[in-house]
Assembly symmetry: C2
Homo-oligomer: 491 residues x 2
């Protein structure tokens, strides 16, 4: 439990790194920049996948799978895409190894590819090259496809989950007959992400639009959800892009309309990644370890029997523990009974605190006699002795309360950390002496945005969707502005 | 529906390729040797994944994720592993592209990796390098981990699902304190695969042991399940390897025993891949298209309303169709109601035959009046008019019958195609004039096995686990033998 060595308030970054490792979520691998996702971390990711996949299917999407490799020439086809991307990529140049005379394994230079292959950093190009054959007529539209995959973007400075060379994600790629339909899809998927973030991850998010500077390479408009971490830094948690006809034009994807005209197809793409694991950890956890919202916890309840040395008492306690486990399981609650007898209850308590298990039930011989149990919740650390009668309903209710409470706490924190400012001095003061978002007027130019970034390291996280329109002046240039935007330092 | 152009009996290979494409399962991509798995094909693969994953978890395994890339030097560490593998691999040599002066995208030669990275062909090396840090004591064992991932083995001659450069699979990698435990795990996972193949894929399999020649590179013993396709060729459908201490020694993975001695850890690995899609298609399908076992069919029942032009009748028929759909769904049956009115019933019938939907229900105005429906099963092509009363129970029962029948048909075919022979002439005759497995005595030497392969292209598929012991003489050399083995031409 190395995470106890560093307090969150003292060194947030070291606290995060320690927690990811000590809670058995992930670790660095022998390959620079690539992580190993450990079973406990992967179990949380699987729960995220299941929740997202259900929502994708409910909105009419199907999964498919496209190749890991993309021919280099594909990247040149959409000019703005290649400028924004495709530079820091893993490049496959050969397809064979051989044993050299000295016995070493070396690359076989005779097995050189004619055209290099790029390990996908994102799949718009290979997918739109495929869609050309799938789409002939308006009857073939819309195409609503998602892919769960690994992608690679060569990173020099990496952090587990937040920025790694290889990461896991999903990427939706849809094709539509009209601009309106594609925009509606883009917005729908933003809502799906926001719903997932708030109701499953318990992380409140601001829905907004990225500025031209921060837009996805190749997109007409990028929508995003932005969360606020406990250190006051923002984290982009998901993006949904309206791609216009850019990729259709680059890959010559046309369809015959009802009156038999040839039109270019309209596109969207949208994705979230294992970065969400970072958001989850940084939004809720404390110095004792993870705090998992019940909707994502691989173990929702742990039962720790307090076992005495008397065999008879031990059996009574274990029987009661099993009875409770079985009652909770019938409610669909994931319960672990930890009956190891080579480990103290105190050690177990600390272990499940570290792992963020939402509810802990302890039962000793006296509890059995009294028909009671001790119930501790991870989020508030409150403990209470309660009657074990009807325990399944009580715990079910408690889990739902915990889910709500974790969200509410994060929401309160977020709302308390939106600093509205009107002058440059206030802007600088907020960035230097406060934490969180800074809500400020901006003159709408990329030039000013970049200048502010250069001066303060803060970026425009988004123009919130539900933004009140008000007249003001840009904090840097004094030029007129019609609405505030959210600045922050970000991961 | 291009598959109708080629009959299965005329050109099995062309029939297979056409079917994979026309049933929308998969297609070749722009990247040589890599496939695109289309939504309908991927939906079947997802059902396979769910069934396998459930079985892995029921036997105590957890999922995790390890890096896509493996440092080249790792392959040299286990000598027999590198000999059998690691030659036909995708090699990453650079990590950046740049725009050349002429505007072309080129590899940035200054961004050359110090050590090349190999795109994983299988993950024993990177995983055992990781396990070194996970395993210190007997208390850390066993480790029961599985990974769902993409892997790459550079193939010159590819076939959709059966042999592709990139494919999807799962690979289990377990670590144990004793040889006995590891062997028990190896056998357990073979049983899991056989159960899945027979009860879900409806493909009967022979469980057996590979000869030294056919063993996985780095394994002490390779167990396998072998299926027989409708053209009489064998297909290896899954393997489970007892790896001994080979990888533990190569990566120095030791544990402290209870009496505090340092011992090397014992290993297994086991995997099945998207190749199972090929097995599924080749075991059951016919000239009309796919035949899917209900346990894997994304659509188990399709309802086709026979709609007249009278609005009133149309509404009656559609209402009845929806009522049946809803009753079936309550039973957990996946039902599609195809109410498109720009397509004829005949066209729809052919489409769902091509896609292998197990049961088709047709309802016309007369059926509504008679409280009847026409039910057609895909496997036998039988049609019957039945009362629509209690239709949910009847269809549920029918689906279960179809699952059994598809398996039984494949089992009968397989059992009729095991040719026991005693002389070389009989052996050659069976291979040339019959199809299927040839059960023959073999002298147990690699030399003879390779000679037979050279002469006939037949390989030893396995030494069946439940093999009767009987004295005989090798069909090629006449040397004494204690049991028969199964030869076949194979995919």
């Amino acid at each position: 439990m190395d995470n106890k060595k560093v307090k969150r308030s003292e060194d947030y970054s070291a606290w995060y790194n320690n927690l990811v490792k000590s809670a058995d979520l992930a670790e660095h691998s022998a390959v620079k920049g690539c992580m190993v996702i450990k079973p406990y971390g992967y179990a949380i990711w699987e729960k995220m996948q299941a929740e997202l996949d259900k929502r994708f299917k409910e909105t009419g999407h199907q999964n498919a799978y496209f190749p890991l490799f993309i021919p280099k020439s594909f990247f040149s086809k959409e000019a703005s895409h290649v400028d924004g991307f495709a530079k820091e990529c893993a490049v496959v140049t050969h397809y064979r190894l051989k044993t050299a005379e000295n016995g070493e394994i070396v690359v076989d230079e005779t097995a050189k590819l004619e055209e290099e292959l790029i390990v996908r950093p994102t799949s718009e190009t290979i997918i739109w090259n495929t869609y050309r054959d799938w789409i002939k007529s308006h009857r073939d539209l819309p195409i609503l496809v998602n892919q769960w995959a690994n992608v690679v973007r060569w990173e020099m400075r990496t952090r587990l989950f937040l920025r790694t060379t290889e990461f896991l994600w999903q990427e939706g790629h849809t094709a539509h007959a009209t601009s309106e339909e594609a925009i509606a899809e883009t917005k729908q998927m933003l809502e799906v992400y926001a719903d997932f973030a708030e109701n499953i991850l318990a992380v409140p998010v601001v829905k907004g639009i990225k500025t031209a500077n921060e837009r996805f390479a190749g997109a007409i408009e990028t929508y995003c959800i932005e969360g606020l971490m406990q250190d006051g830094k923002a984290l982009q948690m998901g993006t949904s892009h309206f791609l216009g006809q850019n990729f259709a034009k680059a890959f010559d994807v046309k369809y015959a309309t009802k009156d038999n005209k040839q039109e270019y197809v309209w596109a969207t793409s949208w994705g979230v990644s294992t970065r969400l694991m970072g958001a989850l950890i940084m939004s809720h956890s404390d110095d004792e370890g993870l705090i998992l919202p019940p909707n994502l916890a691989p173990i929702q309840v742990v039962i720790v029997p307090i076992i005495s040395k008397k065999e008879e008492e031990k059996e009574l306690v274990l029987n009661k523990a099993k009875e409770i486990q079985s009652a909770l399981r019938k409610k669909g609650i994931s319960v672990k009974l930890d009956d190891r007898d080579n480990t103290t209850p105190g050690y177990k308590f600390a272990e499940y605190e570290l792992k963020g298990v939402p509810v802990r039930i302890a039962i000793g011989p006296r509890d059995v006699a009294n028909e009671s149990v001790e119930v501790a919740r991870r989020d508030t650390k409150e403990k209470q002795v309660m009657s074990s009668i009807d325990i399944d309903h009580k715990i079910e209710h408690l889990l739902s309360q915990i889910q709500t409470n974790i969200y509410q706490k994060a929401l309160d924190y977020r709302d308390q950390h939106i600093n509205a400012v009107n002058t440059w001095d206030e802007f600088i003061d907020a960035l230097e002496n406060k934490t969180g978002f800074v809500s400020a007027h901006w003159d709408g130019t990329s030039e000013t945005e970049l200048k502010i970034k250069e001066l303060t390291k803060a970026t425009i996280r988004c123009v919130p969707l539900s933004n009140p329109q008000e007249n003001g002046i840009c904090v840097l240039t004094g030029a007129p502005s019609k609405e505030r935007v959210l600045f922050a330092k970000a991961y």
